[in-house]
Structure formats: C-alpha cells, structure tokens
C-alpha cells in the first residue's frame, strides 16, 4: 500500500482579484477619512468617516477574505452573528435609556 501524500498539487488561484489595486483604494479611503477629520468637524463629516469605514471593511471582507465567493451558508453564519449583536444592542439600549433617561 503506497503512502498518501499530505496534500495534492493546487490548481492555481481560484479567483483573479486585483489585491494591490484594492490596497491603493483602501489607503486612499484612509487618506480621505483623515482629511475629513482634520478639516471638517461636523456631524456630516463624522457620518462620512463611518461610511468610508464600512466601505473599507466591506472591501476587505468581500475580496481579501473572499466572502464574496463563499457559499450562502457562510454568509448566513455571519448574518446570524450580526442578528445576535442587534438583539444585544436593542436590549442594552432600553436599559441605558431607562437609567440615563430619554
């Protein structure tokens, strides 16, 4: 009986993704966030900074973590965690409003 090899030979990248280009986009988004924080101190600027953070996180999750190419099952797992988070947030929101007032 021949010994089975530990791994088979990989067939090449499963997806062609421009990782370096995406890195430049992420760094550019970081620069925009910094400029907004330095020169603008409005609520709109704060909202834009968070929107940029969400976009950056989405790029890393979808393309670096390959979440875009995962089966729906994996996305359901993450959504379940976010649902738990929403329940935690909702419960604590009521508690904090009760303690600190509306």
């Amino acid at each position: 009986m021949t010994a089975a090899p530990a791994t088979s030979v990989p067939a090449g990248p499963a997806h062609r993704i421009p990782y370096v280009t995406l890195w430049f986009i992420l760094v550019g988004a970081l620069a925009v966030s910094l400029l907004l924080a330095v020169f603008e101190h409005t609520r709109l600027a704060a909202a834009l900074i968070f929107a940029i953070a969400i976009a950056k996180a989405a790029i890393v999750a979808m393309y670096y973590m390959h979440l875009r190419f995962e089966p729906r099952y994996v996305i359901v797992v993450i959504l379940a965690a976010l649902a738990c988070l929403f329940i935690l947030f909702s419960g604590l929101l009521l508690d904090i409003v009760h303690v600190y007032g509306g």
Binding site: T2, A4, Y19, L26, A45, L85
Partner: protein, 207 residues
C-alpha cells in the same frame, strides 16, 4: 479497505491521495475554513458588543470629544496603514500557495508578521505616552473603553502573529498549505476590527 467516515461523507479508499482540503458534504466548505468562519462569528459578537456599547455611551457623553483629542491620531493612522499592508501580504501569501509557490508564501507571511510586530510596537508607544500623561484605564469611562477595545484588539493581533508563525513553519516543511488561507481569514478580520476602532476612537470622537 476504506477509512472510516462520518454520516454524509463518502468513503475514501486508503490508497487514494488525501484531498487538498476536504469539503463538508452539507455545506461544500472545507471543514477548517468553516471552523474559522464560525469562530469569527463569535468574534463579531464580542467586538461588536464593545463597539455598540461604546457608541451608546459616546452619544450620551459629547464631552468625550475633548478626551479623544489626547489620542495619537498620527500613530493610529500609521497603524491602520500597517495593518492594511499586512492584510495585503497575507492574501498574497494565500495566492502564492494557490500557485504552488510555498517559498514566496512563507516570505509574504513573514512580512505580515513583521507588520503586526510594528503595529504592537506603535501601540505600546501610544499606551506609554497616554499613561505617562495620566490617561490610564481607570482615569474615566472613555479611557476604560479605549484601553479595553484597543487592548483586546492588540491581544488578537498577538495571537494572530503566533498562529501565522506556526502555519508558516509547517508551510516551510511543505505541510498543510491550505491553512494559510484559514489564518489569513482571521488576520483580515483583525484588520477589519481596527478599520472600525480607528475612526471610533481617534477620528469621529473629535466631532
């Protein structure tokens, strides 16, 4: 003679080569990758819980903006750049594994480890600077949140470095290269957490 199987998994003859990464019959996702995603789901609740509670308290304490002015924005921005770069080298390590170039993958992983080390050194410098000025974890609720959130994140960075080094050592021997992707997914998650912590604690708080 076949190897024993679990329900739903086809029998693998002992003479057949082992699969590159055995997918589960129910989800078609390799077991290790599925495990990482389940682990990250729990991490989403941990970090998400801290972040949401911080946001709730921040909305009730607009004066925290003045306290946040004492955080080192430049250091935080450099750390963001460092982690983004470490994510790039980590995903390039995975791509190298897929192309069969384990030597290049090992080099790229070492670059990620170096970047992670730089992140921790900068973080230590920040903590020293802030504590010397009297901004300790017990100096107030804002600083409790700041040290708890960034400290927990730094511990995850440290754990990630250990995991990357362990996987890299195996890859150098040609063993389990598929684990590069799994540890990479964890490392990118650490980056995603910082992508949210940086604006929360360093940028938007100044508003």
């Amino acid at each position: 003679m076949s190897t024993p199987t679990s329900p739903g998994r086809p029998a693998v003859p002992a003479s057949s080569p082992a699969p590159y990464a055995a997918p589960r019959a129910a989800t078609s996702v390799p077991t290790g990758r599925l495990g990482i995603w389940w682990f990250l789901a729990s991490e989403v609740v941990i970090f998400g819980g801290l972040v949401t509670i911080y946001v709730l308290f921040r909305l009730r304490h607009p004066e925290w903006g003045k306290l946040a002015a004492h955080t080192m924005t430049v250091a935080g921005a450099v750390n963001t750049l460092v982690l983004l770069t470490s994510s790039l080298t980590m995903v390039l390590a995975h791509e190298s594994v897929e192309r069969g170039n384990l030597r290049l993958a090992s080099q790229a992983m070492l670059q990620s480890v170096f970047a992670g080390g730089v992140f921790l050194v900068i973080k230590a410098f920040e903590y020293t600077h802030e504590i010397v000025q009297g901004f300790t974890p017990v100096a107030g609720l804002f600083w409790s949140f700041y040290f708890a959130m960034t400290g927990l994140h730094a511990l995850h960075v440290l754990g990630g470095l250990v995991a990357i080094l362990a996987v890299r050592r195996a890859v150098q021997r040609g063993e389990n290269p598929h684990r590069v992707e799994y540890v990479g997914i964890y490392w990118h998650f650490v980056d995603v957490v910082w992508i949210f912590l940086f604006p929360l604690l360093y940028l938007a708080s100044r508003g």
